[in-house]
């Protein structure tokens, strides 16, 4: 019968929150900051995990690099044909790539050379290949590169400095469609010939060779066969790369853990403060209410409304803020902590994964805990003899 919300009680709860403006404000601030941090971190880390997964999925099964003195050397393109002979190999492509230091902004770009007709080992490169004009020195830019160049007034072409100090002019053909942004943001795509020229690499050499294997189970076998064929190479499989990515990610999220622990700590102080008892003012008010006919249940119901309003409001504002921060503002600052595979400092859009489970999890970590922390001491206070108000 009395199941419907008691508006008078609700109003009383709202009033008493407003009466303790500063306390309410402080709790809302801490709680929504915590929820904001948690939600943002979860959103971003989920998105990056998702990103990494799709990056790793798009990786070639095997990469073959030549080593000398423990360092990575260029590899002869003639090896490609020999590798293709190995049973189980469905394709082998030589890659030409490297880093180019862009002095004006103090960042490294990744320079990738492609051929017009070869099978591209990355989907985004395939679309770049379609748009790239192979008839003259032209390049397609990843979004991050484009914005850095634009800021430095390189809008039509850029002069690369070659090993001998002479310049190589390459026109900017446009921005290529990056299907996986985390990976291709700092990439410049141009023809293999132009790339070789900038890197001072002869025509019969390549940076490494990527090998595709039709059957996943054969990757390890093929890898060991290549190793047998060329004792001086390093053979990297997809699994190896996956692990090293995971390591970077775990390391970066550690910083977040620290931030998170700090706000969690504050939250626990609030909870502790609440559990350690009511102020004399609060006790007196409960006494008054009981003396004029409120039952323990009425008092607790009021406290429930109060703590629900304050914690739910904080939860909502924290989540809305996080959504705004992550989706609209593209998570400035936070993102830099997670990403940064290259030194490229420009921001880019992570394709964010929205997940409802995270929101539920955070809800249950915050709202019910706060409500319980409010109600438990009030219960203790309300069940004591109320005759204190008589004195």
């Amino acid at each position: 019968m009395r199941a419907k919300i008691n508006m008078y009680l609700f109003e009383h709860a709202v009033n008493s929150l407003f009466r303790q403006k500063f306390k309410t404000l402080f709790v809302v601030l801490v709680l929504s900051t915590l929820i904001f941090l948690l939600t943002s971190v979860f959103f971003i880390s989920n998105s990056i995990k998702h990103e990494l997964q799709s990056t790793v999925d798009a990786l070639p099964e095997i990469i073959v690099q030549k080593l000398g003195g423990g360092r990575h050397y260029d590899i002869e393109t003639s090896s490609v044909d020999e590798i293709l002979e190995i049973t189980g190999v469905s394709s082998a492509t030589e890659r030409v790539w490297g880093y180019y230091y862009f002095e004006n902004a103090g960042v490294n770009f990744t320079l990738v050379g492609i051929d017009e007709f070869e099978e591209q080992y990355k989907k985004s490169f395939a679309s770049a290949a379609k748009e790239l004009d192979f008839s003259k020195p032209t390049m397609m830019l990843g979004e991050g590169v484009e914005s850095v160049m634009d800021k430095n007034y390189y809008k039509e072409y850029f002069n690369f400095i070659k090993h001998d100090g002479t310049l190589k002019r390459v026109d900017i053909g446009g921005v290529f469609d990056t299907q996986s942004e985390l990976e291709s943001n700092d990439v410049i795509v141009m023809s293999k010939d132009d790339a070789r020229e900038i890197f001072n690499m002869s025509k019969n050499m390549a940076t490494d060779i990527v090998v595709k294997v039709a059957n996943e189970d054969e990757i390890a076998t093929v890898a060991s066969k290549i190793k047998l064929l060329y004792p001086d190479v390093r053979v990297i499989t997809k699994d190896d790369i996956k692990i090293s990515y995971q390591n970077i990610f775990d390391y970066k999220s550690g910083i977040f853990l620290a931030l998170f622990v700090v706000s969690l700590f504050t939250f626990f102080i609030i909870i502790y403060d609440k559990l350690s008892g009511l102020s004399s003012e609060e006790r007196r008010e409960i006494g008054i209410l009981k003396a004029i006919g409120w039952s323990v249940g009425d008092v607790l119901k009021e406290k429930f409304y109060e703590s629900f309003i304050i914690s739910f409001f904080s939860y909502m504002s924290g989540v809305v803020l996080a959504l705004f921060f992550v989706y609209i503002l593209k998570a400035p600052l936070l993102q830099n902590i997670f990403t940064g595979y290259s030194q490229l400092k420009t921001s880019f859009a992570l394709p964010f994964v929205f997940d409802i489970q995270t929101l539920f999890l955070i809800f249950f970590l915050s709202v019910p805990i706060y409500i319980a922390a409010t109600i438990i001491p009030s219960y203790r206070g309300a069940t004591l003899d109320a005759d204190e108000v008589m004195r």
Binding site: R2, K4, N6, M7, Y8, L9, H12, N15, R19, R284, E285, G287, I288, L289, K290, A291, I292, G293, W294, S295, V296, G297, D298, K301, T383, D385, A386, D387, V389, M390, R391
Partner: protein
């Protein structure tokens, strides 16, 4: 009818500093009676009021109101009993300072979840009866002592209780306001309410509306 049967109240019973506030009190108050409890400070007056209001339980003995053994009630029944039968006027008024006059007055009705119309009707009637209509929306903390007490009386009467308990009602009032308070008591008596006033203000000892003056000394009724 209020009956106190062989009441003893000991505070902090288990500890060394235990206080025997009341000793073997027997008292019967008939409906519509106005009783004054007089006694020195610490004699046990407030304790008697607390027991009648079921705000505290006697150490031994029984409080029976209209056949209901109020000293045996569990919390939820005790509060319902208090809400429906008892209006308390505290010495310190016990208003919530940051709420408005109206909000304070309707506090006893809040858990009942009544219809707005009903709440407003009850509020209006007590505002008028105790002459605070003009202050209805002001904050309690901005009121004078006399006005605060009228708010407290209005709050005690919003549920139209049969029993009014007043603890040192004139302790903080000057003579003019005390007389004013007595006029309000007179009106409550006319309404047929049972009234118990705990006080050491001589103003009450020889008052036409008072039926009996009972003296209490160190927890013993004389």
């Amino acid at each position: 009818m209020i009956e106190l049967k062989n009441i003893t109240k000991i505070y902090e019973e288990s500890k060394e500093n235990s206080v025997t506030a009341l000793k073997n009190i027997n008292l019967t108050v008939k409906d519509g009676e106005v009783i004054v409890l007089r006694g020195a400070s610490g004699s046990g007056k407030s304790t008697i009021l607390s027991l009648i209001a079921s705000l505290a339980k006697p150490t031994s003995g029984e409080v029976v109101v209209d056949g209901l053994r109020v000293s045996k009630l569990v919390d939820s029944f005790a509060s319902a009993y208090r809400r429906d039968n008892i209006g308390i006027i505290f010495q310190k008024y016990n208003l919530i300072p940051s709420l408005s006059v109206s909000e304070n007055i309707i506090l006893p009705l809040v858990p009942l979840n009544l219809h707005v119309k009903e709440v407003e009707a009850k509020l209006e009637s007590v505002l008028e009866k105790f002459h605070i209509v003009h202050r209805a929306y002001g904050l309690v903390k901005n009121l004078s002592g006399g006005e605060q007490q009228r708010v407290a009386i209005a709050r005690a009467n919003i549920n139209n209780p049969k029993i009014i308990l007043a603890d040192e009602p004139t302790a903080n009032l000057d003579e003019k306001l005390s007389l004013h308070f007595i006029e309000m008591l007179r009106e409550l008596k006319r309404d047929g309410k049972t009234i118990i006033v705990a006080t050491h203000d001589p103003l009450f000892f020889d008052l036409d509306i008072v039926d009996r003056v009972l003296e209490i000394n160190h927890g013993v009724l004389l």
